[in-house]
């Protein structure tokens, strides 16, 4: 078979079989060799067994989207093809060992384990696979060797040699297939890609946090958000970050708010169920006007739902989280770059406006990665809005824009905050006229916030008559779909800030004959939010809620079918 410019390789097997390893190695090796890569995984809520799969796209151009199509399927366990049957076609080249391939499918025997055992241990089979696939994509073997040497250096020469031998054997195996004409792949390399960064969504958010000056994270493990806690823990020492695993999410959010009070820049990372336990804390942040950054990694709910899958089901829950009325900001990154910049921005917003800021990520965004042409790191330390206090300092001084200069304890003045309604000095009050002043003060901050809303991005035809609206992680598939459709009357409006809603939203929608919303949930929550703000309805709602992200093909066909 012949493949050109864009190849989708899927590895499927059971949890614990090392698919993650193959994924990690392969994507990096490919990138080092100059290929654009994208990877997304789909896995079950279990540590061993079941069926997990990883898609690796290798492409002549940068790609940032999941596709259904499988060009090459490496099956590591019987049942994998069944597991992926909707995506496997006659054009799919199936590779694997007889024992691991479902009956009744043509496939090319790849004796990974056998080779591995010859070398000394079954565990090398993953490296053998990496070698084979690399060969088919005509990766230079030196690249692989170099990578393995660096990677296993600490493990000692013997391990290095064995891995290199395993890779070589696999590589030769791959070359044969190419020679035999069983497969022919033509994907352009781009030397500059070699120096690209490659990381996943969790890392992007973690790096964005550090860039935003984050030096405190208190959280409780919860898929898919744990990666951010792990990332910051790994860098706790070098960057001086307090990374604390709290006893529960209530403690986590109250610690984070306490940390801001004392002068730290704090965040929490969680998923819907954990966030549910933090909403009282959201309200506290709203009342004492504390900055707070929350990474809300969405997953299918209600309740425990499908812990390792993806969904955009918590938008309205997050928007109205916390009792009472107070401003908040909701961001929704659709790319790894945005995950980085928006998280950094979240700290700026939180600190400047003294409000909670929620980053609506999800499992798909957090677990996928691709090569990125370096991020521009802030030249200087992040801007901070903390003031020196003087003897007469009043935490809630009434100001024009409702924002009171925020001081921290330790200075000349006293810093007093209170979850009850309070006076300018932060002391509890039952003065009902003051109550009104304070409510107005807190809500007035919306004006300042609205002046800095991140505008939605219009992609595709500027003279559109059909507009496709999306937010957050659906960016990849929608964008690719629009590009592939490539007509001159359809545009994609991508929202990376979903609340407050940008004032141009209505204008954008009004200039379209047909309005389409795409959401990874069952009730079109963003459409609902847009209607509550603009009164406008969507003509078509393209929704998906089986726990999987949209694929490019799916968006294309559903846009065509209009459902």
């Amino acid at each position: 078979m012949e493949l050109k410019d864009d190849v989708s390789i899927v590895l499927c097997g059971e949890a614990g079989q090392g698919i993650q390893t193959v994924e990690r190695f392969l994507t990096r090796v490919l990138k080092f060799d100059g290929f654009n890569v994208f990877a997304a995984k789909e896995y079950m809520s279990r540590v061993r067994g079941g069926f997990n799969s990883t898609e690796i796209r290798v492409s002549s151009n940068r790609v940032k989207s999941f596709v259904d199509r499988i060009d090459i399927l490496v099956t590591l366990k019987k049942g994998s093809i069944e597991h992926l049957k909707k995506r496997v076609s006659n054009d799919t080249l199936i590779l694997g060992e007889k024992a691991n391939v479902d009956d009744g499918y043509d496939f090319v025997e790849m004796p990974f384990t056998q080779i591995a055992t010859e070398i000394g241990d079954k565990i090398f089979s993953n490296i053998v696979a990496v070698g084979s696939i690399s060969a088919m994509l005509n990766v230079e073997f030196d690249t692989i060797e170099e990578f393995l040497k660096a990677f296993f250096a600490k493990k000692g020469q013997d391990i290095v040699d064995k891995n290199v031998r395993a890779a070589k054997k696999g590589y030769d195996l791959g070359l044969e297939l190419v020679k035999d004409g069983k497969i022919k792949v033509e994907v352009k390399k781009d030397k500059t890609v070699k120096d690209d960064l490659i990381f996943d969504g969790a890392t992007a958010i973690g790096m964005g946090a550090i860039a935003g000056g984050c030096n405190f994270i208190s959280s409780y493990p919860m898929t898919p958000s744990t990666g951010v806690l792990t990332f910051l823990s790994e860098h706790a020492k070098e960057f001086g970050i307090v990374a604390e695993q709290a006893e529960d999410e209530i403690s986590a959010v109250n610690m984070a708010i306490g940390a801001w009070f004392a002068g730290a820049r704090a965040m929490v990372t969680t998923a819907g169920g954990g966030f549910a336990l933090m909403v009282e804390g959201m309200s506290l942040a709203g009342m004492i006007e504390s900055p707070l950054v929350v990474n809300l990694g969405q997953r299918p709910a209600p309740a425990t739902g499908l812990p390792t899958r993806t969904e955009q089901g918590d938008l309205l829950f997050a928007l109205y989280s916390g009792h009472g009325e107070f401003p908040k900001i909701l961001l929704a990154p659709g790319t790894l770059e945005d995950a980085f910049y928006l998280t950094q921005k979240a700290f700026y917003f939180a600190d400047k406006f003294q409000v909670p800021v929620i980053i609506l990520s999800d499992q798909y965004l957090i677990d996928s990665y691709y090569n990125v042409k370096n991020l521009d790191l802030p030249k200087s330390a992040p801007q901070k809005f903390v003031v020196e206090t003087t003897k007469d300092y009043k935490r809630y001084a009434l100001t024009q824009d409702g924002i009171s200069p925020r001081g921290i304890p330790g200075g000349e003045g006293l810093v007093d905050v209170d979850s009850d309604e309070h006076d300018e000095s932060g002391h509890i009050t039952e003065d009902l006229e003051l109550r009104v002043k304070m409510v107005d003060k807190r809500l007035k901050k919306f004006d300042a916030i609205k002046a800095e809303i991140i505008p939605p991005e219009l992609i595709g035809s500027q003279k559109y008559d059909t507009i496709v609206v999306g937010w957050g992680s659906t960016y990849g598939p929608i964008r690719e779909a629009i590009e592939k459709i490539g007509d001159n009357h359809t545009a994609f409006l991508y929202f990376k800030q979903v609340y407050p809603l940008h004032p141009d939203t209505k204008k954008y929608l009004q200039s379209a004959k047909k309005k389409i919303i795409v959401e990874n949930n069952a009730t079109a929550q963003f459409a609902h939010l847009i209607k509550s703000e603009t009164g406008m309805d969507f003509d078509v709602k393209i929704l998906k809620y089986n726990g999987m992200p949209f694929s490019t093909e799916e968006i294309i066909s559903r846009l065509r079918e209009g459902r």
Binding site: F216, G263, L414
Partner: protein, 275 residues
């Protein structure tokens, strides 16, 4: 230092006349003054309840947060700025009831904070329901035939759970309470002071007289380093012992934390270096 430094001047205090909280406010100011801790270097973190209103009645930095949630912010404040003296103070319902999980796990971290619990054996602010420390049989509008739950024993649980400083005081003796508070604040690590406080309005069972008649001080010869002995004494309830039950030296959360491994400057003073 003169404790007047903490005075707010003429303010309207929401506590009932005769409430034990007035005595606690006094004792806390006194202890801090004797330890020369100025208001600017002090942060009092409280939850919600009558007890939790205390910081409003003295000059200090304070974080009057959510009901049950005094301890997590206190822990975070201390590690963000170890130069501050941090006291978490609230009611028995707040810290042992709503906040029980934080109480349980904070002591495992051993942050250098002092937790003062106004133990009036009742929910005061919400008008007299049972608290975790309410005695069996105590009648309330909700526990109409009297409390059927076994009273929570904060002293025994804290010792069993490895707290590094565990004490009980009774505001029926202010000087004695000041002494205990001072030791607690000076202790390096997590210190608990379960502080008996009469609620003159909603607790007609555990009155000033009751607390006087049902408490006594651990003898001077008592050695607070023996955990088993401490537990034995913590179970005495015919008369409740007052004083320091248990103490142990242990590294604090701040000392153990990776963020302070390389650099000792308080978190809040640092700048990220992105190289």
């Amino acid at each position: 230092m003169d404790k007047k430094i903490f005075d707010m001047g003429p303010i309207d205090i929401a506590w009932c006349p005769g409430c034990g909280d007035y005595g606690i406010l006094n004792a806390v100011k006194q202890a801090l003054a004797e330890l020369n801790i100025p208001p600017e270097k002090l942060v009092i973190v409280s939850g919600i309840g009558q007890a939790a209103k205390l910081p409003h009645y003295m000059k200090t930095n304070f974080f009057n947060g959510l009901h049950g949630r005094a301890i997590p912010p206190a822990t975070a404040i201390k590690i963000t700025n170890p130069e501050l003296v941090v006291i978490a103070e609230s009611g028995d319902g707040d810290i042992y009831g709503e906040g029980g999980n934080h109480f349980l796990h904070a002591m495992r971290r051993n942050p250098d904070i002092t937790v003062i619990v106004h133990d009036n054996m009742v929910y005061g602010l919400t008008k007299g329901q049972a608290s975790p420390t309410s005695r069996e049989g105590f009648k309330t509008p909700v526990q109409v035939e009297g409390v059927i739950l076994k009273p929570f024993n904060p002293i025994a649980v804290s010792i069993a759970n490895g707290a590094s400083f565990v004490a009980r005081a009774s505001i029926t003796d202010i000087p004695g309470t000041v002494k205990i508070l001072k030791q607690a604040i000076q202790h390096k690590g997590f210190s608990l002071v379960d502080l008996f406080q009469p609620c003159v309005t909603f607790n007609k069972l555990n009155t000033y007289q009751w607390f006087r008649e049902n408490t006594y001080y651990l003898e001077d010869t008592y050695d607070p380093h023996d955990r088993i002995e401490a537990l034995k004494r913590s179970f005495e309830e015919d008369k409740f012992p007052l004083g320091v039950f248990y103490v142990k030296e242990e590294k604090t959360f701040e000392e153990n934390n990776m963020a302070y491994e390389i650099d000792k400057t308080p978190l809040y003073k640092r700048e990220v270096d992105l190289k």
